[in-house]
């Protein structure tokens, strides 16, 4: 038996990404030098990923409470009450780095990981979303990465039989060397059947379930260690391979076990595998834990304690059972042909004790790995937000600009992407990808969940605070636009290196912006994930705080979609248009510049306008709504027309300048369509409520007609909108910009 033990030197400490100060703290907590295994354990538990050491102090400022919140941040996923004893459990997580190295497996295991976070809490996953950012389309790696990531997400999610119902895709050069793959999973459980990770009590069996442990994904920081030198490169893959088949069995087996009352606590093995799952469970339960690694099911021979503790093999879970229930649990896992082993027990010593080959190889106070982990108030340097309104060429014809925008990489239809995802399995998908929010029915009821992910990174660079606010507001707006009551948020904060004061400021301001919006909109944050150090060659990505959000439709038949439904409906714009072109899609795609202030969100107006629109949908008066976001009003109208295959004739009298009105990205706006009589009433009511409202025109025909004079056939717009993605992926088109 190789113990894998070696002496801890300053060099080794550094290789584990721990600072000398941090190691000093470790020695103090242990009252002695750490051994090699312990050093490995500390390095992963005190890593940014597990300890949130740069962001923890700031994340505390986010609002996390509401009457409907059952579980806020801190568990594997957040939980909200959606009435009738039903709970909705959801979370979003990044798999950025692995997806850049190996797009298919990186994205696939990202999907698998977030699903485990959700089903470990007792939920059956019912919907997946993904927020993707790639480098500019002309970058030589982009197409390969898009192709691999999309098929990886599909490969895993489709096999699991969980519909992937939406997401985002952006292209920007800041992601050339660092793509973002954020996956979100939404599940359903009963409020009285939610499983937490607190391993309370002593003497309870700790069981290992799922796949065997191999040398997968052992932390890159440890790669240089001599212990591995004899083995070939091949022995230490840094990228994990996903096995969705096993995950599907694991899901069914866990839900079957959860239907019994045998479980005290359960947690998936995610980052830092066995180490973090066991340490976190003991920490939350206020107990100690003792594991015998010889009992861990192993895929390879000769694995050291260090390797087993740090392995990130996928499709594994750890559970603490009530004593005496081992056989009941084992029978379930054997039926599903999964590994099952009792590998330890809880203790009352508050220590994390690991045995291997009969010897104790690690013995650490549990709190040293959790509460005592360092927290940094990293210095940050405020950068003045970019201000000012950009200039633009007033002579550009509006409809030609529209056509160009609809075919821009960030604006073109994502059909190529979502047709590779099974978005209707489980038979409850009411709104498929392509609308403002996905809508998924709560099985067997008339309720439904609305789900969206949003952020506009191009606003977050010039103004991280407003950008953070805007991401939340847009998510809230997208849920509102289908008629749902927005309930809660999960965030995925993707930023650069927090040790750079300017980046740290982007993080702090972003969190502040998110917090302010969530408070104003009564939209608590119930979970999230931070992905920092997203940089290549010292260049950070655009700040990308992705917001995943869920809302509730009490009656799914009272719902709105973006498609125009009737000829002759009046098209109405709700919300004020000042014509904000700073950082807009128009400016970037038509003028070729990224300039000016990001749009400001007035949260009070946002709430007022949104509540008004939602009221119209809920009362059954309006069934056609689209929010106004990227590209502005004209893009929204065009999307509604293309979706419904019904044209429109619109116009605005006495516009001083056309482009700001049609393409400006002012916030808190919606386009709705309703039959004439209803529309008249709506306009009156809006005015009475002091909500900006404007009649844009009427639906009908097969073209978009502007100001009764310019027209463009819908078929032409659709061809432009649908054409770009498939052409790009076929290698037929590599645009120079963006």
């Amino acid at each position: 038996m190789t113990t894998g033990m070696k002496t801890v030197t300053p060099e080794l400490v550094r290789e584990h990404s721990l600072t000398p100060d941090e190691y000093g703290r470790i020695k103090k907590l242990l009252g002695r030098e750490a051994n090699f295994v312990e050093l490995g354990v500390f390095s992963v538990m005190w890593s940014e990923h597990c300890s949130y050491k740069s962001t923890r102090a700031h994340l505390k400022k986010l609002p996390t409470k509401a009457a409907w919140v059952i579980q806020g941040p801190g568990e594997n996923a957040g939980v909200i009450d959606i009435g009738d004893g039903d709970a909705c459990i959801f979370k979003m997580e990044s798999h950025n780095h692995p997806s850049f190295i190996e797009p298919y497996q990186g994205a696939a295991t990202g999907v698998g990981g977030i699903m485990r976070d959700v089903f470990t809490m007792g939920a059956r996953p019912i919907a997946m979303m993904n927020a993707l950012r790639f480098g500019e389309p002309s970058h030589p790696k982009t197409r390969h990465l898009v192709s691999g990531v999309v098929s990886g997400i599909g490969g895993y999610g489709n096999c699991m039989g969980v519909p992937t119902v939406g997401g985002e895709v952006n292209f920007h050069k800041s992601y050339n060397g660092n793509i973002l793959v954020n996956a979100m999973c939404v599940g359903l459980a009963r409020t009285d059947k939610i499983f937490l990770s607190a391993a309370k009590g002593a003497g309870n069996p700790v069981v290992y379930i799922g796949s065997k442990t191999g040398r997968d994904g052992i932390h890159g920081a440890t790669m240089a260690s001599a212990e591995f030198d004899d083995a070939s490169e091949e022995k230490r893959p840094t990228v994990q391979v996903g096995d969705p088949f096993t995950e599907k069995l694991l899901l069914e087996a866990c839900l079957e076990l959860m239907a019994t009352d045998a479980i005290i606590a359960i947690q998936d093995m995610g980052a830092a595998g066995l180490t973090s799952s066991s340490a976190e469970m003991a920490d939350k339960g206020g107990s100690g834990i003792e594991l015998d690694l010889d009992k861990v099911p192993q895929r390879e021979t000769g694995m050291t304690a260090y390797e087993m503790l740090l392995s990130e093999s996928q499709e594994r879970m750890l559970a603490v059972l009530k004593p005496g229930r081992e056989d009941q649990a084992r029978a379930i896992f054997e039926k599903w042909e999964l590994d099952f082993a009792v590998i330890g027990f809880t203790t009352d010593t508050s220590r994390f004790v690991i045995k291997h080959g009969g010897a104790v190889v690690a013995d650490i106070p549990v709190t040293a790995l959790s509460d005592e982990a360092p927290i940094y108030e990293r210095p940050y340097a405020k950068r003045a937000p970019v201000t000012g309104a950009p200039t633009f060429d007033k002579s550009k014809p509006v409809l030609a600009s529209l056509e160009k925008i609809l075919a821009a990489p960030d604006m073109a239809s994502r059909r190529w992407v979502w047709e590779q995802y099974d978005n209707s399995v489980m038979n409850d998908t009411v709104q498929h990808p392509g609308g403002d929010a996905a809508v998924v029915r709560v099985h067997g009821t008339k309720k439904a969940l609305a789900i969206t992910t949003d952020v506009s990174p191009r606003y977050c660079r010039p103004d991280p605070f407003e950008g953070g606010k805007q991401a939340v507001a847009e998510a809230w707006r997208n849920l509102t636009a289908v008629g749902a009551t927005p309930l809660a948020v999960t965030d995925n904060l993707n930023y650069g290196n927090p040790q750079k004061p300017e980046i740290m400021w982007e993080i702090v301001a972003g969190i502040d912006g998110i917090g302010e919006a969530c408070r104003a909109l009564d939209f608590p944050v119930i979970g999230g994930n931070c992905s920092l150090y997203n940089e290549t060659n010292g260049e950070g990505i655009l700040p990308t705080p992705a917001i995943g959000a869920v809302g509730l439709l009490k009656d799914v038949t009272r719902m709105a979609t973006v498609a125009f439904k009737r000829q002759g409906d009046v098209v109405i714009l709700i919300g004020e248009t000042k014509g904000h072109l700073g950082q807009s899609i128009y400016l970037r795609e038509i003028e070729g510049r990224e300039e000016g202030a990001a749009p400001m969100v007035d949260l009070a107006v946002e709430k007022k306008n949104g509540d008004f629109v939602r009221g119209l949908i809920a009362s059954g008066r309006v069934d056609t709504v689209h929010d106004v976001s990227d590209g502005g009003v004209l893009v929204s109208v065009a999307e509604m027309a293309m979706a419904g295959r019904i044209g429109a004739s619109i116009g605005m009298a006495a516009l001083p300048e056309a482009a700001p009105f049609w393409f400006g990205e002012d916030q808190a706006r919606y386009v709705i369509a309703a039959p004439f009589a209803e529309a008249e009433k709506i306009v009156k009511e809006a005015r009475a409520a002091e909500i900006f409202v404007a009649e844009l025109g009427k639906t009908g025909g097969d073209a978009l007609v502007l100001d009764d004079k310019d027209r463009v056939p819908l078929a032409r717009l659709s061809a432009a909108h649908e054409g770009w993605f498939p052409r790009f992926m076929a290698g037929e088109e590599i645009p120079a910009t963006n």
Partner: protein, 79 residues
């Protein structure tokens, strides 16, 4: 010239397919079957006549396209 390229997962990389096949074979009563690994075999016709050049080109093809060297290894056979 004909060439055959084998692309297989590196040792230590999980092979879910191989695992499932092994399991299924055991289930069918083939008790003697131990570990199973699945890979790809790619047969190519080459107009190249120089063996050395062909080998070099094939290596290049493997590195660039045929194998994902993050998780896979390859072998080249000329016939």
């Amino acid at each position: 010239m004909k060439a055959r390229v084998f692309v297989t997962l590196k040792n230590g990389v999980l092979d879910p397919q191989g695992k499932a096949i092994g399991h299924a074979l055991n289930g069918l009563g083939f008790a003697s079957v131990g570990e199973v690994r699945q890979g790809k075999v790619i047969d190519l016709e080459l107009s190249e006549t120089d063996t050395g050049k062909a080998k070099a080109a094939l290596k290049d093809m493997c590195e660039k396209l045929l194998a994902n060297t993050v998780i896979e290894k390859y072998e080249i056979e000329l016939k």
